[in-house]
């Protein structure tokens, strides 16, 4: 006999709401004309706002497990979800004009985007390997489709194909690792796995399983040497999709690592720490060095993502709460910065012109001093130069590894971040010191100008007053 009781649905209300709304929008969108497509857009934003209100109003200061302990709602998850909604909503606003100019302004973009958000939410709230995997696949499938969204573009189809093949391989690795863990623990529940691991920390099968899951996660995060898909996908996908991939999913990937490694396999810390050290160093080194050689700004930002992933891993590998909150702060800040970076490409692009070469930024200060200043703030923030928030992100991660006496790792990281500063500086050099190549007017509408300004000035404001966000990340750990 199966003992059936009605689960507590309340903690999952935001997920249920997003799911319902995504389905509603999908059907509703069938019945409206192309000219009224803006309604879909408004509804999608409304869904995210509604989910945010739900999450905030339902948030409690405690951990609530439901659905037979496969789903968890806790403060960390809630904060991460709020940022996922916020970032995705802004990404949608950035995308509107870009999609319109390219004849891509269709309901599917927003519906897939919302399903992706749902996938991320499930990942954030997973308390069982199965839930985690389900969320991950929902996110990944939405992303594959979004990358291929521009059907008539060869590069975007190619990128989607690559992404799909490599993504499937990574999912396979992850699943294989999970099956080994299941084999030892006889349970998918993270809490059970954790207690089994605590009893046999040197079980060889557990370690093999751990290695495979780490590989799978490294694929999804884009850590070297499992990063090869990132530059091609970032480059090939339509910029609005690149922005979507580059921002919120990093937060979800961070949550996945937290749930699986820290909550599930926390007692194997000494083992996964050394794996993450290798991944982090390689990511920081390769990401920063290869980015220097890029001439396409989307590719450059792709390599910069890889190096930032290295920094995110640094905080996690310290294995302390201090380090986890540092990483969380870093990942949130990074998502906001990367959104701004891709946002600027969209602002400068127009129908038939992608503005994705570094040369397209030449002399931006002559054409629009305001936008150039905004981009400058974003670039300095990515390089980690104060008084922008990127500095505090690096500071908090570095202090967390110095705390666990890995000073050499901190030194390596900062040396390569100096090398990384070079290519951000090159963008600023291109904007300020070179003569403009383009003279066409910048077409971006007022809404996008306002969003990009808020985005960049936010990086500066958070840099001058970082206390609140930092405190938030510490409290929820």
């Amino acid at each position: 006999m199966v003992n059936f009781e009605i689960p507590n649905f309340v903690p999952a209300m935001p997920e249920i709401f997003v799911l319902t709304m995504a389905c509603v929008i999908l059907i509703f969108d069938l019945f409206i004309k192309d000219n009224d497509r803006i309604v879909t857009f408004v509804l999608a934003i409304g869904t995210l706002v509604g989910a945010m209100i739900l999450t905030i109003s339902l948030s409690e200061n405690a951990r609530v497990l439901t659905f037979n302990d496969t789903f968890v709602s806790d403060p960390m998850g809630n904060v991460l979800k709020v940022f996922i909604y916020l970032i995705t909503a802004v990404v949608f606003i950035y995308s509107r004009q870009y999609l319109k100019q390219r004849g891509l302004f269709k309901g599917e973009y927003f519906v897939l985007g919302l399903f992706g958000v749902l996938g991320m939410m499930v990942m954030v709230s997973a308390h069982s390997m199965l839930t985690l995997y389900m969320g991950l696949e929902l996110l990944s499938l939405s992303l594959y489709a979004m990358v291929a969204f521009q059907r008539d573009s060869l590069s975007s189809t190619e990128a989607a194909m690559k992404y799909f093949v490599l993504g499937a391989l990574a999912s396979g690795m992850l699943l294989y690792g999970m099956s080994l863990l299941y084999g030892v623990a006889a349970s998918l529940d993270l809490a059970t796995i954790s207690s089994v691991v605590a009893q046999n920390p040197d079980n060889i099968i557990l370690l093999v399983g751990l290695a495979f899951t780490v590989v799978g996660m490294a694929f999804k995060l884009g850590a070297v040497p499992f990063h090869m898909w990132i530059p091609d996908v970032y480059h090939g996908a339509p910029t609005s999709v690149t922005m979507y991939i580059g921002a919120a999913p990093k937060i979800a990937a961070f949550a996945m690592v937290m749930r699986l490694l820290v909550e599930g396999l926390g007692d194997l810390h000494s083992h996964w720490q050394s794996m993450l050290v290798v991944l982090a160093i390689l990511s920081i080194v390769i990401g920063n060095v290869v980015a220097i050689a890029q001439t396409n700004i989307k590719r450059m930002l792709a390599y910069s993502t890889i190096s930032h992933v290295g920094f995110i891993l640094l905080g996690i590998l310290s294995g302390t709460e201090n380090g986890y909150s540092a990483s969380m702060f870093y990942v949130v800040v990074y998502s906001l910065m990367s959104m701004g970076g891709f946002g600027m490409i969209i602002v400068l692009s127009r129908s038939g012109f992608e503005a994705d070469n570094i040369d397209d930024f030449k002399g931006l200060n002559e054409r629009s001093p305001w936008l150039a200043a905004m981009m400058m703030i974003l670039m300095f923030s990515m390089a980690g130069v104060p008084p922008t928030v990127g500095f505090y992100a690096k500071l908090s991660v570095l202090q967390s590894i110095v705390q666990v006496d890995m000073v050499w790792l901190a030194v390596t990281a900062v040396i390569f971040s100096v090398i990384g500063a070079f290519y951000y500086l090159r963008i600023i050099k291109t904007m300020y010191f070179d003569k403009p190549q383009e003279s066409a007017k910048i077409e971006a509408g007022m809404d996008m100008r306002i969003v990009i300004s808020l985005n960049s000035l936010g990086m500066l404001a958070l840099g001058i007053f970082p206390a609140a966000l930092m405190q938030w990340c510490i409290v929820v750990m």
Binding site: Y392, A410, V418, K429, A467, M470, Q471
Partner: protein
């Protein structure tokens, strides 16, 4: 008056002013931009004067302190305060900025508002570095001021400006990241980022040596000391006049200030162990870089190398204390050297600024910095020639100018430590005179070299005002350095005490 948060005003007024000027730039009214920049610069200077008049001369404690919580998660405070070391440097900064604004008046016609805004924002940040007593706050200002300087050299600079500015940025950034790691390490020793607590904490010798070395990388790049000085000639040559003036007059002092605020008090035992390293680097700078200056064909490069050589004196003066303490068992002789080094810092701010302004005057007229393009300028620009000769004399350390006071004190003090230190340091009296006076001989004196020189017009009222005010200050502190010395004295005594008190 004392209720006002004067230090915050000195830091934030210019920054706000810079942003306002930037906004005014959108109107396209250049004279409005210029006058309002001047107004902001003067306001900042006026606000900084009470720091001097209200300064308590009898204590080494921090004054005008403000202490507000900023990032509670890491115990970071908005903590500012000044002592006898930082106060004169703040005044130097606010004063120099006025000169830079005036010197740029008609010269900078391209993106005037952005130029002025960069300098105003930079002024605020440099004041922030001198005033900060919290390591994170210090670091934020320290790095933040690279941004406006990066833009100043890159936008308004010479032909190779992009190379020079990226080199400048990366060199300093590279140095600073080691500073950051050291500060984080110290944070875990004390539990907060207060510089004063860092100074009080006990540290083992190995830790001290590692911290000392990371500080040394950061500050030696900024000073700059041989052998990490190579960014400076490039940056100076390519920077616009204002950029060169701020670089030489203030930014180099920031590195030296770091020696005093961080290295000597936080790592006294390591400083004592490794004083030979710093002294060697300083003496190499004095002698070798002095020789290098001699063979330059570009006026700005010559002054840039002479700056490095003069800053060698400053770092030499700081690190004589350990040798003297070993020989005599007291720090009294070392006080002379350290005060001399600090007078040298201020004086070099005036003199090198003046030299760069002089070169700027010539460059604005002839668009060349090559010494060989000039000759006989005195015939067409007599007033200018008088100023330039005076500044060159001051640069060579002529008695009666402020350049003499600092060098003389340091050499006197060096005698107590080691004869050969003094001997090598004293060669600057010959080398400095040689390159400065030879420069003057080739540029100012002699027959009129070509028709370009023949067509030169003498300095106008604006340029006379700028050069004249600097000349007066150089004379004033040359004849009567007491006001400067009495401000520094208690702080120097305290600093020397910290330096010879073992932390082991």
């Amino acid at each position: 008056m004392s209720d006002l948060p004067l230090l915050s005003l000195v830091i934030w007024l210019p920054i706000i002013g810079g942003l306002m000027v930037l906004a005014l730039g959108a109107t396209g009214n250049k004279s409005l931009v210029r006058w309002s920049s001047l107004a902001w610069a003067i306001v900042a200077f006026v606000v900084s004067i009470p720091l001097y008049t209200g300064f308590n001369l009898s204590t080494h404690e921090m004054q005008f302190v403000e202490h507000v919580s900023w990032i509670p998660a890491f115990n970071v405070f908005y903590h500012v305060g000044i002592d006898g070391v930082s106060m004169p440097l703040i005044l130097l900064t606010t004063f120099t900025t006025i000169l830079v604004v005036i010197a740029a008046w008609e010269v900078i016609d391209h993106k005037t508002a952005q130029y002025m805004a960069c300098f105003l924002i930079m002024e605020g940040m440099m004041n922030g570095v001198f005033a900060a007593l919290d390591a994170v706050l210090f670091y934020v200002f320290w790095e933040g001021m690279l941004i406006p300087m990066f833009l100043v050299i890159g936008i308004w600079g010479g032909v190779r400006r992009v190379y020079a500015t990226i080199k400048f940025f990366l060199y300093t950034f590279f140095g600073s990241v080691f500073l950051l790691i050291a500060l984080i390490y110290l944070y875990f020793q004390t539990g907060n980022f207060s510089i004063l607590d860092f100074q009080a904490v006990q540290l083992g010798l190995t830790a001290q040596i590692l911290i000392f070395l990371s500080f040394l990388i950061a500050f030696a790049v900024k000073v700059p000391m041989w052998p990490v000085h190579t960014w400076l000639p490039d940056a100076h040559v390519e920077a616009p006049t204002g950029g060169s003036v701020i670089l030489a007059a203030i930014m180099l002092k920031l590195g030296a200030y770091g020696f005093l605020r961080f290295m000597l008090p936080i790592t006294p035992d390591a400083s004592s162990e490794l004083d030979w390293l710093v002294i060697t680097m300083s003496l190499v700078a004095v002698v070798y870089i002095g020789l290098v200056a001699l063979v330059q064909e570009d006026m700005k490069k010559l002054v840039a190398y002479s700056s490095i050589s003069h800053m060698g004196f400053v770092t030499l003066g700081f690190f004589l204390v350990f040798g003297i303490y070993q020989q005599t068992g007291s720090t009294s002789g070392a006080a002379l050297g350290m005060e001399g080094a600090m007078v040298q810092m201020i004086s070099h701010g005036f003199i090198s600024g003046a030299m760069f302004l002089c070169i700027g005057v010539l460059y604005d007229r002839m668009h060349s910095r090559r010494i060989s393009d000039y000759g006989g300028v005195a015939n067409t620009m007599p007033w200018f020639a008088a100023f330039m000769v005076f500044f060159a004399m001051a640069n060579a350390g002529l008695p009666g100018t402020s350049g003499f006071v600092g060098e003389f004190f340091v050499i006197l003090s060096a005698f107590q430590a080691n004869f050969w230190y003094a001997f090598l340091a004293a060669t600057t009296l010959i080398l400095g005179a040689a390159y400065s006076l030879w420069l003057v001989k080739r540029v100012v004196f002699g027959e009129v070299k070509n028709e370009n020189v023949a067509a030169l017009k003498d300095i106008n009222a604006r340029e006379t005002l700028v050069l004249g005010s600097l000349a007066m200050l150089i004379l004033l502190f040359g004849i009567w350095p007491a006001p400067l010395l009495e401000v520094m004295h208690p702080t120097v005594e305290h600093l020397l005490q910290q330096a010879v008190t073992s932390k082991l």
